[in-house]
Symmetry: C2
Subunit: 610 residues, 2 copies
């Protein structure tokens, strides 16, 4: 067995590790618990597992080059998932000291590290007969235009904390206001969390707010799931049940507090040293977070209570961080274009790009934003849960054993997540399967699956054999069940195709409406960003084939990973990003599709495969 | 029996009442439940029972004239307590509709009724497909520069309250911020309370904030009394006992909530219609109100946690008014010059008078302010509780049966509160007694009470008989006990004289220090205001005689009643008064007497009677 040495350079230290020749670099990182982002799971699509390496034998492939971009290539960056270790190498994990790097855009960009909440250490004058100022006035002298300390928590802690270390204190400040006070110098310990509350998943990012560096990432299933998979059923629960909103709020607050506990134990920090939590999420989730009634989001004309930027004391919301801590909730655009979309627009940078960008975040709802630095339009379209594997005969989420890709040539085959036996098919697999069936002529342009008898002339023997009958309907077999039982075969049914047609038509029609509203041509769009998990895993060629994204955008499509989470992190690290989020929200014009006859026409048109 | 007719004119209506000839006008008002202020209880000292009258036979006496001032005389005002009904008369009780009258100054002055918290009724646009603004944005349109609604209470109530009466709503606004929301038009119902938290008594004033008129007044003993009579012993309790501050805070909050309940039942209003409570009080009481540790107030160099103006949501403090309500705490000057003094300075108007005024508020501490519109000095001096009847052999508070005045000529006599049998002697009685003893030569300039044998030559028989021996010390008998038992005789002992000497010396030396600090002569002072209960009841001649107030100020002294409470009311009714309070507080220079050798010298000097 040939072994090589990997020298890992981090924070000025070098660690040497022996590794078997041919080991994939990303696998090496995972095995050694070296935190490198890889939202696509190492499939080579997201371009995020970027790392500076010296000594690799192989030159970057064209695919690797295109994902990295020239700037990163010039700096010596490579994508870990694309490279095997076939020599001794040096890996550099250092980031610059006072800038945080957010890797959602194709070219790396830097955020000024300037958090809203920060600490400062001060040695105050000690009072005496000649200086009888109150404790509050003693603090106020530090500020040019002092704002009144109007926090009971601070006033109550002030006298003891000032005197514990002879008037040497650490102030926790927000917008030139003292929001917290601690004895002595505690400036070395301040953390913040960015949280993206999705209908399905809550993703949280713990940051060290001294250095601006990521400390930990954790995600949990949204505990509200038991009240329904989508926002509408959860809103219905709050309308139909006395105390339903309280329950929904409790669930989410409990989930967040569990995440905080995890961060405490996993990183040996105290929740008392966490002073800020920035939230993004869809509008309904943010209402539930604040325990604000969301009923009117569910019924026409879909009016949320608030879409504004909010700052609450964390303890007002029941979030267990420092008693001085604040919860910041980013602004939303409308009932169905939430703060997650605003954050994604911010992190992908389209709002400051003169070129026209199309941002698509596909979930149960597809949020679509089209625009540039001068104008932006957004809509939300009810794609339904087909892309998440729901309402599909053998549909599953992105779990171990899910078929996540299907190929038809050179021979038919598929892959599963975790390389386990197939247990079902997830969104990206469904899109691949249907795209392949179209290419093979198994599905016609109306979406009808051909019967075995119709396909004799133009179909290979193997393909013909996959055309089966399930409950009297034509279906396409992907994997025969080991039990030789049709009920447990994995197949795409006629109904599955219809579900997918509805879903892709909703997105495609939404895109078409925005293009029309903006009065541009499809060629004017220069970048298409796919945000979110599905956007990272989907095979772009398949998406084009089924007409989810118009063919005219071919070659311009990139996935940007969890752009919403990245935007939340940006707001956590930079108070300017908070202002930016408000500006972005104000400059997005929301288009209500349900009010447009045109949308229904386009929707029916987009049902076709062509 | 001769009867006359009193025609009472109020709010455009006239009511006729028959009354026996010779009835005192103030007694007539009391009998007929007509609310006329008389803080001195009708003793003719406070000048507050001012009312516009036509038809009185007698011309005003010089005393009445001097208390009323020319402006009021010209307008037809008279003092009720000075006049008997000896003809048919017309009494006018109307006040102007949009101005509130506060009667603490000698000449009546008007306050612009412009409360910080006010209601407005609005008919908002009803949302539709063409107008999908959030509930918050729908409200924000009403304001030129909308501030974010950052109250969870408001957000949570917003959707239901907007829709209950088809987007007709009442907003509760503070500083152009929406702090409350109610369905329909509730602008007719809004109340506010001004509260003066004294060490001994909590006095509360309920105001109708639609009209700016007083609805009710109520006062209770400060329930903290069981922890000690003075602030120092209460602070000690919080330092010495785990949870002591919580107890102290609970007591005061409970007391305030009891007052609110009383206002509810007594006036048939709901606490939900009370939106503001303005607090004044000494610095320690305000710390306890906020549950802020007060320990450092009790020890040199006497540093309070805060002397700032504070605005808290009432529910943060546990005060049970509207969930939208606010508690406003007026600013203090120092540890021992509290918001009550700031409020008194505001209501007596000295801060905007070019003439120099001396304001004296005598309690356990005597707060003294000297100055005019250009400069002000303040000090606090530990008078001790002698003026409140404490530490005096037969001392009692101002209760029924307390001897409240003593006269030596033409014959010796006294009066009691409620004209009941004497049970003891209160502050004003003690001052009268000692002043008389000085005049009669019973006390020499050092404060020594003469023995019966020394006084043979120059003393009347009656006076000589009052010189008794109590426990081997010379004493002066005021009233022999019915039980013929020396222990229950009411007398002034040598020790009582010493207590009073200490108390009056503290005040007099404080006054002298301020005059010196200001670099003025005593003749430069044009007005002396006595604030607080004791200031209203004290016989000014006696106060001059014992040297509590320098003789050079004779003829310039007036009592101004509860000037602190009046200032709190001013702040409740006028948001400008809140700003004014801050300005006043900033322009008062605090003099720490304990740091001045000069004070001790003056104190010893002022012990003398001369």
């Amino acid at each position: 067995m040939v072994e090589y040495t990997v020298r890992v350079h981090k924070k000025g230290k070098v660690t040497e590790k022996k590794v078997e020749s041919g080991t994939n670099l990303l696998s090496f990182f995972r095995k050694n618990s070296i935190d490198v982002s890889a939202p696509c799971g190492g499939r080579g699509t997201c371009g995020k597992c970027k790392v500076r390496v010296n000594g690799l034998v192989k030159e970057p492939s064209n695919k690797e080059k295109s994902l990295l971009g020239n700037k990163s290539l010039d700096k010596g960056y490579r994508l870990a998932c694309y490279n095997k270790i076939a020599s001794d190498i040096d890996v550099y994990l250092d980031k610059s000291e006072d800038k945080a790097n957010i890797l959602t855009e194709v070219s790396e960009r830097e955020i000024q590290f300037e958090p809203l909440i920060a600490k400062r250490f001060e040695s105050l004058d000690v009072p005496g007969a000649e200086d009888q100022r109150s404790d509050v006035e003693r603090l106020a002298q530090l500020f040019k235009k002092p704002k009144a300390i109007n926090s009971l928590n601070v006033l109550r802690a002030l006298p003891e904390n000032l005197r514990e270390d002879n008037f040497k204190v650490t102030l926790v400040c927000m917008e030139k206001k003292v929001i917290g006070i601690e004895a002595g110098d505690t400036t070395g310990s301040i953390y913040g969390i960015a949280i993206d509350i999705g209908t399905t998943t809550i993703a949280a990012y713990l940051y060290d707010m001294v250095t601006g560096k990521k400390v930990d990432v954790y995600s949990v299933l949204n505990p509200q799931k038991k009240y329904g998979a989508d926002v509408i059923s959860r809103i219905a629960y709050t309308s139909d049940n006395q105390g339903g909103l309280d329950e929904m709020n409790n669930e989410i607050i409990q989930g967040i507090n569990d995440i905080i506990k995890h961060f405490e134990t996993n990183n040996g920090i105290s929740k008392g040293s966490i002073y800020s939590v920035v939230f993004v999420g869809n509008t309904t989730m943010l209402h539930f977070l604040m325990k604000v009634p969301a009923q009117n989001i569910a019924v026409s004309p879909f009016i949320p209570v608030t879409t504004s930027l909010h700052k609450f004391k964390a303890d007002e919301l029941g979030i267990e961080i420092s008693p001085y801590g604040y919860a910041l909730i980013l602004p939303s655009v409308s009932a169905y274009v939430g703060a997650d979309t605003v954050a994604a627009v911010m992190s992908c940078g389209m709002y400051r790009d003169d070129r026209i960008t199309l941002l698509i975040d596909i979930g149960t709802n597809g949020e679509i934003v089209l625009g540039n630095s001068k104008w932006m339009y957004a809509c939300s379209t009810a794609a339904g849960p087909a892309f998440e594997g729901a309402n599909i005969r053998n549909g599953v989420g992105g779990v171990i054993g899910a078929i996540d890709s299907v190929r038809f040539s050179p021979d038919f085959g598929y892959s599963t997540i975790g390389k386990e036996n197939a247990i079902g098919i997830c969104g990206s697999g469904i899109v691949d399967a249907i795209a392949g069936m179209i290419s093979e002529g198994i599905i016609d342009e109306t979406g009808r699956i051909a019967g075995r008898e119709e396909s004799e002339v133009y179909r290979s023997e193997e393909m013909r054999n996959r055309l089966i009958d399930l409950d009297g309907k034509n279906s396409f077999l992907i994997e025969k069940s080991e039990q030789c039982n049709a009920d447990t075969d994995i197949a795409i049914t006629q109904k599955d195709v219809r579900e997918l047609q509805n879903a892709k038509a909703a997105i495609a029609a939404g895109i078409a409406v925005l293009i029309k509203q903006a009065g541009i041509d499809i060629e004017d769009i220069e970048n298409v960003y796919l945000a979110g998990g599905f956007g990272s895993y989907i095979n772009i060629e398949s998406a084009l084939k089924i007409g989810l994204i118009p063919d005219g955008l071919r070659g311009k499509i990139k996935s940007v990973g969890n752009a919403a989470g990245a935007g939340a992190i940006e707001a956590l690290l930079s108070s300017k990003a908070l202002e930016k989020a408000e500006e972005i929200r104000n400059s997005i014009k929301y288009i209500e599709l349900s009010a447009l006859d045109e949308f229904n026409e386009l929707y029916i048109e987009c049902m076709q495969f062509d």
